[in-house]
């Protein structure tokens, strides 16, 4: 591991950006953007997380294998979310309208 020492100034800068982004995410939540509210919230959260990983956690100054581990974790999480959702969002839901079987279930 390279002995790169990050100066406290950088840390304070990162902290202030995180504060600003927190304020931004709260502010954005009060504006009705329809489906984009969640997109913006997650985008801001991801920017914040990236800042923490790169600077507070020194990933920017870490060896390649650390980057591989981070990428793997994010990638695998993405596999789980994306492939599971790929099932749910492409389902044929017209059967839910069928009431006869609902009646039958209740008897």
């Amino acid at each position: 591991m390279s002995e790169h020492i990050v100066s406290p100034k950088v840390y304070i800068g990162i902290f202030l950006s995180l504060m600003v982004l927190t304020a931004a995410t709260v502010a954005a939540a009060y504006v009705n953007l329809g489906p984009f509210n969640i997109v913006i919230a997650l985008a801001i959260a991801s920017v914040k997380a990236t800042l923490v990983v790169l600077y507070f956690m020194h990933a920017r100054y870490s060896p390649k294998r650390t980057h591989m581990v981070i990428i793997a974790a994010v990638f695998w999480l993405a596999i789980m979310l994306a492939l599971t959702l790929s099932d749910y969002v492409t389902r044929d839901r017209d059967m839910a309208a069928n009431t006869q079987i609902t009646t039958m279930l209740r008897t």
Binding site: M80, L83, T84, S86, T90, R91
Partner: protein
């Protein structure tokens, strides 16, 4: 070889066990229970997984006896359901998953890469304790009401409808999951940072590559099953509804999360076994493995692609047709690296100098059984066929061919192959060959009829069945009794050999790996001098240090014929 413990004559060598080694460096129960030596921890695992193997084996025996008649004559339906559930839980979570990684992997990874120990020896010991703690929870569940959910814990049966001891069982598996995770973590770090000078990535033994691939699954898959089973436990304890449709939850989500781990878990079982076979074949064919980088790469490919296929267990749950198409397609992709391995092993035999030693028989058996298990996977991955054979005995036969035919043959092959390193002594060759053959034939008789049963439509997990299926079931039970003998024999003669076996010497086969460059059994610190690797893997040509020209003591006169 580093120590002058052998006296040699021109034709035969008589070895002595070295004076001090990892088994006798310290004494007393404390020195074992508090050990941080990876070799001793491996032995702790050896005993504990063997215990769970016999627990699971007893359940299996009862299942097979029960199924001899269509009505089932041994136990009640409740008990039968508990038997197959507990068989699955004990075998999968407490035998198959830890078997090769935690026993052979623990013992061999540091030896093979020339390290003194794993990177985190204390965490390694912690892994074993977590395994034992998890095991205690599960045994508690078995003995206080049992478990009748199926090892798959499908909700809402497991979370709402089962009256058995589900909560302690899922907690046990949760805890055991952290044992796996920490083992995988230890291996990954060790393989990255602890390799001896000269041990580059492409000089790593293929077993180490397989362990690395397995560890990826441990690290990235296991946490998901841990949290999922924890949620099932919470559902039961606090009346929550994550997966309970009556409370708005989705039972299919449980299956997604469950199989996200549990399908790759199959590769946890088979990848290390493939690694073992990749060590055995070049050793006994005395030539470099064919396509080293393809075998190494295919291990990683299996581990990665293995995470993309899980929902092929769910083709008939009402899963989206599009998702089913994608998952079937990806499932076929994961077959390719497995095929590559089989072709490469076969080619390694070409123009080899092949001996029929026991580990080689196991390797041969592995190829045969894995071939059947793997190819029948193609049937199940096929969307159209899965409609018919899903949840039938075809599936049961398929995964037993992979898990028992593949993983257990690999495990036993590995145990035999490295037994001289572990114990310092050779097992009785003749008995070992006999038991390998018994295992192979007993296995096929047990499980092959189940393919036919499955195609005929006999569903899984039935405590009774229509009379027309009886003949095939009786065949299967007969096979199981032969199989049981095949498992008992090695137990007996391996224990016998601890005291009476011929002293093996450092490298009885001989083999090219670094682990064979140290004493048998190795000293606590593995290598008295940090070794330096200057040779390519599985290279017999440039290795005069292997001393192929002396006859190793105690082995059968070679070449051996006839008893196969």
């Amino acid at each position: 070889m580093d120590t002058p413990t052998s006296t040699r004559t021109a034709t035969a060598t008589v070895y002595k066990i070295p004076e001090e080694h990892y088994l006798n460096s310290t004494y007393g129960i404390r020195s074992w229970l508090l050990t941080t030596d990876h070799k001793r921890i491996a032995l702790l695992y050896l005993f504990s997984v063997t215990f769970f193997f016999f627990v699971g084996g007893i359940f299996a025996t009862m299942i097979r006896i029960h199924l001899m008649t269509p009505q089932g004559f041994l136990v009640t339906p409740e008990t039968y359901n508990k038997l197959f559930t507990m068989h699955g839980v004990a075998m999968i979570f407490f035998f198959l998953i830890p078997s090769i990684p935690a026993v052979l992997g623990n013992f061999l990874v540091p030896l093979m890469i020339g390290a003194k120990d794993l990177a985190f020896p204390k965490i390694n010991l912690l892994s074993w304790y977590l395994y034992i703690l998890g095991g205690c929870f599960v045994l508690y569940s078995f003995s206080t009401g049992g478990l009748d959910t199926g090892w798959t814990f499908y909700t809402p049966l497991s979370s709402v409808y089962s009256n058995s001891a589900v909560t302690p069982a899922v907690l046990g598996i949760f805890i055991n999951g952290f044992s796996s995770i920490l083992t995988g973590l230890n291996f990954v770090v060790t393989i990255h940072t602890m390799r001896a000078p000269g041990m580059t990535w492409f000089r790593l033994p293929l077993f180490v590559w397989a362990q690395y691939a397995t560890s990826i699954i441990f690290i990235l898959g296991t946490p998901v099953i841990a949290i999922t089973l924890l949620l099932v436990g919470l559902e039961r304890m606090f009346h929550l509804g994550f997966f309970n449709p009556a409370l708005g939850g989705d039972p299919i989500l449980f299956q997604h999360l469950f199989w996200f781990y549990s399908h790759p878990a199959v590769y946890i079982m088979i990848l290390p076994a493939m690694g073992v076979i990749s060590e055995i074949i070049p050793t006994f064919a005395r030539k470099p493995i064919f396509g080293y980088s393809f075998i190494a790469g295919s291990s990683i490919a299996i581990a990665v692609i293995g995470f993309f296929v899980w929902a092929h267990h769910m083709f008939l749950t009402g899963e989206s047709v599009y998702a089913a198409l994608a998952f079937s397609f990806l499932s076929y992709l994961v077959a390719i690296p497995s095929a590559v391995k089989v072709f490469n092993w076969t080619s390694t035999l070409y123009k080899g100098s092949i001996s029929w030693d026991t580990p080689m028989l196991y390797a041969l058996g592995f190829i045969g059984l894995f071939l059947i298990g793997g190819l029948t996977g193609l049937f199940l991955a096929c969307l159209g066929l899965d409609i018919h054979i899903h949840d039938t005995y075809f599936v049961v036969a398929h995964f037993h061919y992979i898990m028992v035919g593949g993983a257990v043959m690999g495990y036993l092959g590995g145990i035999h192959f490295w037994w001289p390193k572990i114990s310092g002594r050779l097992y009785p060759e003749f008995l070992a060959r006999v038991s390998a053959i018994i295992l192979f034939s007993g296995f096929n008789l047990t499980f092959f009829p189940q393919f036919i049963l499955g195609y005929l439509g006999m569903p899984r997990r039935y405590h009774s069945y229509p009379p027309e299926f009886q003949v095939l079931n009786v065949m299967s039970t007969a096979g199981a009794s032969i199989l049981a003998l095949g498992y008992l024999l090695p137990m007996i003669y391996l224990v016998w050999s601890l005291k009476y076996g011929t002293v093996a010497g450092p490298n009885p086969w001989p083999s090219t790996g670094l682990e064979w460059k140290t004493d048998s059994p190795p000293p606590t610190e593995n290598f008295l001098v940090t070794p330096e690797v200057t040779w390519e893997p599985y290279d017999f040509e440039t290795r005069p240090d292997l001393e192929l020209d002396h006859i190793v003591a105690g082995k059968l006169p070679a070449p051996a014929h006839g008893d196969d």
